[in-house]
């Protein structure tokens, strides 16, 4: 059914968008100290990328750990 496929695609696109909003919100708070310039410093860029990767690594580890607890 094309409508279902369309809605599923929209839903997963929307989930990705919402994750990006959430990560930007958290990582901007952690990585950007002041707003005294319009550009990101190389350190801020690196911090943002690490923040996203570390958050995803933490989440993967938590999901695996919980599956292990259940067994």
């Amino acid at each position: 059914n094309e409508m279902v496929t369309f809605l599923d695609n929209e839903t997963s696109k929307q989930k990705v968008q919402m994750s990006i909003h959430q990560f930007t919100n958290t990582c901007f708070r952690n990585c950007v100290a002041s707003a005294n310039s319009s550009s990101l410093s190389p350190q801020e860029e690196q911090c943002l990328a690490n923040c996203v990767n570390n958050f995803l690594d933490t989440k993967i580890r938590v999901v695996k750990g919980l599956q292990h607890v259940k067994e």
């Binding site: 570390n54 958050f55 933490t58 989440k59 580890r61 938590v62």
Partner: protein, 70 residues
Amino acid sequence: QVQQELALANATELVNNITDNCFQKCLSNPYSDPQPNCVDQCLNKYLKAWNTVSKTYIARIQDPSTSGEI
């Protein structure tokens, strides 16, 4: 069906709360590499805290002297 959806909602809430808390506690410096051991310890600690909170809260709900007010 209802129970399945609630179980999924609970699991998602638990995963998100543990991830948030353990990300903050284990990665105070976001430049550093992740420390898998810290996340595992933090996860176990969180589950124990969940049990303590759960016991305390349910004891309050079941205490007839205050349960009506909660």
